[in-house]
Symmetry: D2
Subunit: 371 residues, 4 copies
């Protein structure tokens, strides 16, 4: 979908003229209520606005506050069957206190003490982990141990068995992203318990999934049919970092490689299709070079960002924050976003874009121009 609303329109079909509240009309409305009916003409402004009006609000969470609370939870709250994970979720202030970063997305800090296990389970919700600092935890996915280290992106497609365990002598915290709110909303959620402990205590540097799949442009002949979600269980920082460096270097040499001046970006993709890493979640990594300011862009659908490194200033709608390593912020649907930096900044991002794109509901604008 690329057609664009006219910019001069009102922001919503606000308060259409209503018929006079005569006794007959009141009686009609009582009739509606008793028959479990609601008229369109009183609701249309909320239901069918001229352009998206998000329930969510732009908000930033400070990483240092999250880590401090997670550490306290590490002392007070055990990890085990039933509660399943020591995960603490962002609750968007516009969404009624529910643990939803945006209407569709879940984002949480997860925390594991040394030698702790988070028990094995599986669920239809898609998930990933992104590591902003630390190492020492392995996630065992269908028996394949996947080490987690700073900068790694670790997708976890739905309905695979997985548990975490911390093999190091330090606690470790990382970010979990899932489509929990969306799956809850469309009411298609399945869940099963697995063993209380992970199947393997091995701690290889690279998972078997990587050994089979992390070779650029090469596909094992054992598996030549596309799969809807990525079979690659770890996207290592060394590759992400190099890809972004190369884009900026190519730009310096005079070639088209970045999406705008000083702004390198990659998308994590499913190597069997070239498309999004999971069916409902998009994940990207953006790098702004020193003294870069992005264009202002807005999109239908919502995103969560985490600052991986550097510092910058983020503007979403009328709100501006300074951000630093680990800070998270959400961009609600159709809110304009601008990022700027003096020292350079690295940003991890995930969003619900695959949901909107697969259903033809995506739309975007750059500073008033359709894209």
């Amino acid at each position: 979908m690329s057609t664009v609303e006219s910019p001069v329109k009102l922001q919503a079909v606000d308060a259409p003229d209503q018929p006079d509240r005569t006794p007959q009309l009141e009686e009609l409305y009582r009739g509606f209520e008793s028959e479990l009916l609601v008229p369109l003409w009183t609701e249309i402004g909320d239901l069918m606005p001229f352009s998206p009006v998000s329930n969510a609000v732009a908000h930033r969470w400070r990483w240092k506050h999250l880590v401090a609370l997670a550490e306290q939870a590490g002392d007070l709250v055990p990890v085990g069957r039933g509660g399943e994970r020591r995960a603490i979720a962002l609750a968007n202030p516009g969404l009624g206190g529910r643990p939803f970063a945006t209407p569709t997305l879940w984002a949480a800090i997860q925390y594991l003490n040394p030698r702790e296990d988070a028990p094995v389970h599986r669920h239809t919700q898609h998930a990933f982990r992104f590591v902003v600092e630390g190492e020492g935890v392995w996630t065992v996915v269908d028996g394949d141990p996947v080490g987690m280290r700073r900068g790694d992106f670790l997708p976890q497609a739905g309905w695979h068995w997985h548990g975490h365990h911390n093999l190091s002598t330090s606690p470790m915290a990382w970010i979990d992203g899932l489509d929990i709110p969306f799956a809850r909303y469309v009411e298609s959620t399945f869940f099963e318990f697995g063993p209380d402990e992970v199947e393997s205590r091995e701690a290889p540097e690279y998972s078997r999934a990587e050994r089979l799949w992390a070779h650029p442009g090469l596909r094992p002949l054992t598996n030549v049919q596309p799969t809807p979600n990525s079979p690659l269980l770890a996207y290592r920082w060394e590759y992400t970092n190099r890809a972004l460096d190369e884009q900026l270097a190519l730009e310096d040499e005079g070639y088209t490689a970045t999406i705008e001046p000083g702004h390198a970006a990659i998308r994590y993709v499913n190597p069997t299709t070239g498309g999004d890493v999971m069916r409902t979640l998009r994940a990207e990594f953006h790098r702004l070079a020193r003294d870069t300011r992005t264009a202002t862009r807005r999109e239908a659908g919502s995103s969560v960002f985490q600052v991986f490194d550097g510092t910058g200033r983020i503007t979403v709608g009328d709100t501006t924050w300074d951000v630093e390593r680990g800070d998270l912020f959400v961009v609600p649907s159709w809110q304009p976003l601008t990022a700027e930096t003096e020292d350079g900044i690295d940003l991890f991002r995930f969003s619900d874009a695959p949901i909107l794109e697969r259903l033809g509901m995506d739309r975007a604008e750059i500073e008033g121009n359709a894209q």
Copy 2:
């Protein structure tokens, strides 16, 4: 998705054991609250149930009550710019009084007096009309007048200009189905006003869209690329009726043509792809022969049915209703559905199945057996 949950599991991860509410824990929870955080371990039972637990409830609306209220609205509420349509929506009792038949679907009765116009607009939401009785209204879609008659299914893909007008001397009521709740939820909704009156007062029996597209297996060479939504603006009753009759006749002759004994069914499809008529909405028509009882089936995702003709008895979960012409009922996600009839029954159905299927979230069971 076809794997099946184990039938002996609990219906939800209900009330996992919680850590003791010590003063420190209370303080931690206050800390979460002040930082806009929510832990997983207190919420997991609601967020990640073993299988879908719908907020919506099964409910039936009586057509005669809907029509009576719509007639009163016809007397009291004008149709015009702002309110846009004299449409009265089903409000599922589980969904907090909002005009949502199910979490994703809107279903309303729309009513137009003789000589009335519903003004032209367009919106990104997908819509359709289904006519259980009456005729005389034409919908003008991008200038193409489409007559509406009993049994017709009239899709209205997003972002096309359309208005209605009643050319007859009788009022007319019909059913509107849309993806309004879903579009509102994912916050991708665009809307524009058009002229206050329809562009054409012509009243041809068949629209231009039908003259181009309603020829089985034939495609105009002017348009050989697939379009995501159907270019065919009317699916006439004569074809639907004949297709269902033929399925039952073939079954009588000993051939496989029905989906189970005595149960004929068609899906309305986009002739340019063979897939669902619109990207977010599925529409089907089911005919049960005399003395037929369907298998009990449940599906992730929700549906709305309208009785087109005949009578029967519908069971959804623990609820059973007798239904007759025009009655509407909703089937929430994962609720088992059985239909039975003595005299035969014709059922129109629409659902959010394309949303779930495109995202790999569909799942179904027949009487405890996976499908």
Copy 3:
């Protein structure tokens, strides 16, 4: 592929300068020959021309001559196991006497006397029948009897059992189209004998395939997955004729419906995908109104046409023929085609376009302008 060659280029890399034929070079060339090698530099003009140079030539076959010879064959040549069919194929004069209408396409007249059976077999080659006159033969496809009548297009996707039998008291002749030359060329051809007689002598007006599938925009719920070839076994003349009439009527009323003035056209499609009726063959029907002249168009890939009705004048490259009912002609790759008519003309066409399109090798020009 839509980029266009520059029109001023030579027609072929003709006779590149060759190195002097010194004794050493002669010895080198003998060395190539003894090692089964051929240099590029002597062959490039033939192998890699600037634009397609077809081996096939434009040619017209007169229907009356074909029918006369087929009748004689009906007297002299029995139909039975081994020879399989009394089919007589067009042999393009540029293709060395082989029974190939074009490099990729087979086109033949098939002839069956009253009460004759053509035995049951199946093959991976895709086939169809098109009936320019007569009736009385039924093709039994996997047990489903399909009557053949003037104007009908009857696809026969690969690897389905089929036999023909003539139930009438008159002989019947029709056109068979297949991808035999292409399948032979890529060397993927499988064939099996079935029974010597058809499984059913029933003669219903409509096949079971039509009763299930010939309803515009409606799909039986028994079969909701796409199939690569059409499940619809007969595309009846009444629908084709009506679709073409409507296009010309819409054009008269001022709407876009034809591909150029006076030129209506439909493609026969697979209702489960909206795409070509079979994976290797495209089939279309074109109607030119009185006093119409088409634009001159050329395409990569080859076509065979049959005049269904009316008269006209066809120009292919430097050749022009008058044509009338039943006449067949071939259009080789990249040869410009123009058709004109005074009284109106109906043309059936089939081509290898799906092969080229699926491989990204299609290209077309209209009167020197790329399309």
Copy 4:
């Protein structure tokens, strides 16, 4: 296509019984000839065999002989505009002396002396280079210099400008693979001359295409739409070698990673789709560990192999050869292939499989069992 022919069938519908050659029949056949017609019943055995009968024959070419002849050509035949390339093609002995390795595939040794340029051109045929030994040549593709080194696979999708130049002080020879015979056959071939010299004399270790695309699972955001052919211009040996090593190591550790015991294999893929690197050509690399013997397998469609390293014994149908580094051999359609090795062997392979698969014409058997 996976159904399998019955193994007891004859190899062809050989010599069906023919009607007696009476004078009338002779006259009929003369009538056919004069009207450019050929009957099916005399040709069916050749046209529609029970299973594929290839015109091509299995053959091996010795690398040392190819190199010797190429060196002589390097002395005697200049490279320049018109002849375009000093390429010497395999001419399958079954294909009438034409420079076709198989009916669909071209395979040639190309040879460039120090400081020589092969001029810039573009063509719709898809091509690749594979380097069995040497280095020092750069191919400049749309201005992007791509170094060629032992073990590298370098795809060259159709209609991109490209020239080669040798920057080293040694000659270099490599293998070119193209779909020339197929493109010639379907008669869709376009060709254009570019400059006589390459646009850039730069000699970077990695092309810009690699710097953008050779990062596993990462996609530049500048280019998020799929392209039908790979944007990655070099698949380096270090990655291929590592991928194969890992498969064999995983097999040793007890995991499924190889396609059969001791047999590792990868396919070169388009990172934007996960599918074949070019629309008409498949390329793979196979590694057999010491003392390995493959299953016997046959496939519809044809292949060309080159030994990259090691030694082995290849059996195709009734023919067996010993092979060593650089040797090439062809496997015609439906001929059974077995490879065995004592010391281990590395095999590069390319084939026309994408053509057959996209058209549903692929079929394979392993030792009499369908696959």
